[in-house]
């Protein structure tokens, strides 16, 4: 913000709403002075208080941000106008990094403005002095609300706001958000009780200067590496001052970084930034960036949000953008000023991604946004909140139910479900009443619920929050000490080497000692795993594995999928496509046909002694994987002898011993697959187990950290997979299974989207029986062998290893 500023129209409108006693939502592009607008009513209020000489010492404004770094940054920016206005206002941040001493002092003697995160708010509200602390609260500012509202952190925040409305009924809230498709959801989130906050919309910024890299190279059929375009990306970096190169996954980040450095003959300072790197390393990169010492950073969504670290003048998005809103957010990282247009280049990594990029550019030009999936508040988060409420003060179930249902995500919560949640918090919610004597909260004679002992509250405070990290291991570099490559490290616990970062345990489960992999831009060889650390040393290898990370891949958004289908269905629009892509589509039209706007194209053809079926639903990888699981089960029963399947964001390919082209396709794709087949599959699904683990941790069934026990690297002391197995068999209607199922439907399994697709295509299947693979089927067919084959039973791998041993024993 510039000195000597004058207020913009939307900033004044926010002030007007507040003065009229109404909460508001401000929708504004980056660089529009959004944050200042949020604080303006507070600054006015505080300056009046100052003129009236009324005493401070009470918390006036609470600011909530999704990132602690953003809270720190806003604090810095806020000090400037406060100093210029000469206001005696005390502003402080409170994050996980704030010292215990300072936190205590903040409770006793609060600042005028406190800048914090949803987790810290939950902690403050769960303390016995919450009423005292928040009683005089006047303003709440919710920053980057669009990034919070549709997640479990948003549920936690909504419940916290509901509590604040009870404690300080007079306070007003201002939500700040980037452009969203449905602002009413955010307006209800801000106001609660089904009320709509005022809506203030700032004019959009200068249109972005967007282009798709028109590569001179041959466009790959499949893959996400964009290897063909790296020289062109490198040239673009060289021509710009400071470039952010966004990729979609950490694996891609590692690959692109490695390959760009191979080309980096000018030794341009180019850095790497992703969520698995050591935090210290990331801070160094950020500091170098804001000091203007870097020319480019290869990064993942870790740099999507909020903070200005430097003078970025070019954004390169490698691979498909996956969603219009995400792309808009990334483009906004360049030229964080409202009146200058941001410059961005999209680099599709394969032919389908060209279509997706074209669709995304169209969406960006129309300023269109993705439709968010409507969210119902998680029962696991509710359970955490119920326990937190008891930690603050004894509560009556009726009053808490009333308060909870005033929060938008829980508006439709049934009383019966609330009661079951309460029962879960108290004794686990089991049909077998075994744990009454161990109850965490109890209802006393006065009808109020209280925590059973102080240890419960202590444990709540240690485990608050909804961000569940995967089990990760530290990656520590050790010296070789004469270890031979290919042998397991079983020696003494050599420590003392440098920690390079963290890696997800389940990737390591695919490695054997001696295997090499790419991490932090280096090739490492796994020496062994000791406690919570993967010990590695530097190695040389032509083909290191690239770590795969859970949740790193965003599925194609529904609205972009619609646009892609529409491009395909309208050959008149193809003139905007690169020639290679046009030829590809024309060839497809000759040899088969193209998927329509709302139908489902299914192709069948023989190949290599097997039969293939390729379908094009365009519903994203997650929904396709679920479809593949269910489809192969159904084919099994139909006697088609399916052998496996692969899926990408656009299509799915299944292969089998019998020809599915002769089967009843309408029956194969009928929506009743979401009944028993789904039930049966969920029993063993690793994705379902991972979802359950998250719910169990958030709900407090499993403590990540326990009082009196030092932090161990492994967060969970008992295997949630084993608990899942036992619970599913003995009490399948348990509330945590219900919560996990709800999560899986919209999350990793995307059942909701699959279900919508099955409805859409009913009676609209277009079947082409071909004599060989069609041009459009090539990309998904190339995934075979790259991606895990989901149809194959995992016991096969075990049997194969056993046969190896047998051959060795009986040559």
């Amino acid at each position: 913000m510039s000195r000597g500023w004058s207020a913009r129209a939307h900033q004044l409108q926010i002030v007007a709403s507040t003065q009229a006693g109404r909460s508001a939502l401000l929708i504004a592009p980056t660089g529009a002075g959004k944050t200042l607008a949020g604080f303006l009513p507070s600054l006015i209020d505080l300056s009046e208080r100052c003129r009236a000489n009324s005493p401070g010492g009470r918390l006036h404004t609470l600011y909530i941000s999704p990132l602690k770094a953003l809270a720190v940054d806003v604090h810095r920016n806020l000090e400037i106008p406060v100093a210029e206005m000469n206001l005696p206002v005390r502003i402080e941040t409170r994050t996980g990094d704030t010292s215990a001493q300072k936190r205590q002092r903040q409770r006793r003697n609060p600042p005028d403005m406190l800048l914090t995160t949803p987790e810290q708010l939950a902690l403050l509200l769960a303390s016995p002095d919450a009423v005292h602390l928040f009683a005089d609260l006047r303003r709440v500012v919710l920053d980057e609300l669009h990034a919070l509202s549709l997640s479990k952190r948003g549920d936690l925040l909504a419940l916290g706001l509901a509590r604040l409305r009870s404690i300080a009924p007079a306070h007003l809230a201002t939500g700040l958000s980037a452009t969203v498709r449905e602002p009413d959801e955010l307006r209800r989130f801000i106001s609660g009780r089904g009320q709509l906050a005022d809506l203030v919309t700032a004019p959009p910024g200068a249109p972005a200067d967007l282009s798709i890299l028109d590569t001179r190279e041959s466009l790959p059929w499949a893959g996400h590496s964009a290897r063909h375009a790296l020289a062109e990306i490198y040239a673009a970096i060289g021509a710009a001052k400071m470039t952010l190169v966004f990729v979609n996954t950490r694996a891609q980040a590692e690959f692109v970084f490695q390959e760009i450095w191979r080309l980096n003959e000018d030794a341009l300072p180019i850095a790497l930034h992703h969520g698995s790197l050591d935090a210290g390393q990331r801070r160094k990169v950020e500091a170098a960036m804001s000091a203007g010492k870097l020319r480019a950073i290869v990064c993942t969504s870790t740099l999507d949000l909020g903070i200005d670290w430097g003078d970025v003048d070019l954004v390169v998005n490698v691979g498909a953008p996956k969603g219009a809103s995400r792309l808009a957010q990334r483009i906004g990282r360049a030229n964080h000023r409202i009146d200058e247009s941001s410059r961005a280049i999209l680099v599709p990594a394969n032919r389908f991604e060209v279509l997706e990029c074209v669709a995304a550019v169209d969406a960006a030009r129309e300023n269109a946004q993705d439709t968010p999936v409507a969210r119902t508040g998680g029962l696991d988060v509710l359970a955490q909140h119920v326990l937190g409420s008891a930690c603050a003060e004894p509560f009556a179930a009726d009053a808490l139910y009333d308060e909870v249902t005033s929060a938008a995500p829980y508006a439709d919560l049934a009383r019966e479900t609330f009661n079951r949640t309460l029962d879960f918090v108290a004794t686990g919610g089991y049909a077998l009443k075994a744990y009454d004597r161990f109850a965490k909260i109890r209802r006393a004679a006065d009808g109020l619920w209280r925590v059973a002992n102080p240890r419960i509250a202590q444990s709540y405070r240690m485990n608050v929050g909804t961000i569940v990290e995967s089990d990760v291991l530290k990656v520590r570099l050790i010296r070789a000490r004469g270890a031979k490559a290919g042998t397991a490290y079983t020696g003494p616990l050599t420590r003392g080497g440098r920690v390079l970062g963290e890696i997800e345990e389940y990737f390591l489960e695919t490695l054997s000692p001696g295997d090499t992999f790419l991490f932090g831009g280096e090739i490492l060889s796994l020496q062994g795993i000791v406690e919570n650390e993967a010990l590695v040393r530097r190695a040389n290898s032509a083909a290191p594995k690239i770590p795969s990370y859970a949740g790193g891949k965003f599925p194609l958004s529904t609205s972009l999928a619609e646009r892609v289908r529409s491009i395909l269905a309208t050959p008149a629009h193809w003139k905007h496509l690169p020639e290679q892509v046009r030829d590809w589509l024309n060839e497809q039209l000759t040899r088969s046909t193209l998927p329509g706007r709302s139908n489902l194209l299914v192709e069948t053809f023989p190949r290599g002694g097997k039969f293939f079926m390729v379908a094009y639903p365009f519903e994203g990888r997650l929904a396709h994987q679920t479809l593949g699981m269910l489809l192969t089960r159904r084919m099994e029963r139909a006697g088609l002898k399916p052998l496996g399947f692969v899926a990408n964001d656009y299509a799915i390919a299944v292969w089998s011993l019998a020809d599915p082209g002769r089967a009843d396709l309408a029956h194969l794709f009928s929506r009743d697959m979401l009944g028993d087949d789904l039930e049966e599959w969920l029993q063993d699904s690793a994705l379902m187990k991972r979802t359950f683990r998250n719910c169990a941790i958030i709900a407090g069934l499993i403590e990540r950290r326990s009082p009196g026990r030092e932090k161990t690297g492994r967060q969970v002391t008992v295997s949630t997979d084993l608990i899942y197995d036992v619970l599913r068999r003995h009490q399948p209607d348990h509330i945590l299974l219900e919560a996990a199922y709800a999560d899986a439907s919209s999350g990793l399994l995307d059942i909701a989207r699959l279900s919508a697709m099955l409805d859409r295509i009913e009676g609209r299947i277009v079947h082409r029986a071909l004599d060989r693979v069609s041009p459009m089927a090539v990309p998904v067919m190339l995934e075979i062998g790259r991606e895990p084959i989901y149809g194959a039973a995992r016991d096969e791998e075990l049997k194969a290893a056993a046969e190896d041993l047998a051959r060795e024993a009986n040559p």
Partner: protein, 234 residues
């Protein structure tokens, strides 16, 4: 016939053998060893009442683990009809576990004990199992050439069968496994909530001098696999 031959001949892979110190043992895919000479069934680390043990500390794990573990044990005992059952220690997750047994579970345990010898080897979780649980208590025992104890001895463990370390093999998923070099065996945990430790972990790996073979428990069969084929994991 050795384990791998058995594995090859589909029909008999149900109970492939494991040979330790010259003694042939049959491996049940549910996670038990059967010694045919003495007709003894050996199970390790039942961890009964682990759920309620956590509940005492505020983690309300589903209270069905004891029932689930005993149900599996019932199936195994029905299959082999052993003359003796040896539980290799950590049979209860903590010292008060026996007192928290639900009446049904206690009855089931008595029914399993009836008509056979039952030996509780002492473990670090349950050094003293109270007398009312029944059965015999030992710190370790000899079974012909074999020595059965809870915690693997650091040295000179020819013929030892021990538990304590809960080995798992990571191969197409995480699975419980017996680890042996022909001299000694480390048995996987049997309990429904008993987690596992990768067989490459130094705590397990350092016990063996010879080449390690993992007898990996599949869905309803056991597969002998060279330990080097198993992934690292944690």
């Amino acid at each position: 016939m050795n384990a791998t031959q058995a594995a090859k001949e589909g029909g008999t892979e149900r109970d492939p053998a494991l040979v330790v110190a010259g003694v042939r043992l049959l491996v049940d895919p549910a996670g038990a060893l059967y010694e045919p000479q003495a007709r003894a069934l050996i199970v390790a680390d039942l961890h009964l009442e682990k759920g309620s043990s956590f509940a005492r500390r505020g983690m309300m794990l589903p209270p069905y683990d004891t029932a689930a573990t005993l149900a599996r044990l019932t199936v195994v005992i029905a299959r082999w009809r052993p003359r003796a059952v040896v539980a290799l220690g950590d049979s209860f997750h903590d010292g008060q576990g026996p007192d928290r047994l639900a009446p049904d579970d206690a009855d089931r345990l008595s029914a399993l004990r009836r008509g056979r010898e039952w030996i509780w080897i002492a473990g670090n979780h349950d050094p003293e199992i109270p007398a009312h649980v029944g059965g015999e208590r030992l710190n370790e025992m000899r079974l012909g050439e074999l020595i059965l104890r809870h915690e693997p001895a650091p040295h000179g463990a020819h013929g030892e069968i021990a538990g304590h370390l809960h080995p798992v093999a990571v191969i197409g998923g995480r699975r419980r496994a017996y680890v042996t070099d022909g001299q000694r065996v480390v048995a996987p945990a049997f309990g429904a909530y008993a987690g596992g430790l990768n067989l490459h972990h130094p705590a397990i790996a350092r016990l063996f001098s010879g080449r390690r073979v993992a007898h990996v428990l599949g869905k309803d069969s056991v597969h002998a696999v060279c330990a080097s084929k198993c992934a690292a994991g944690a």
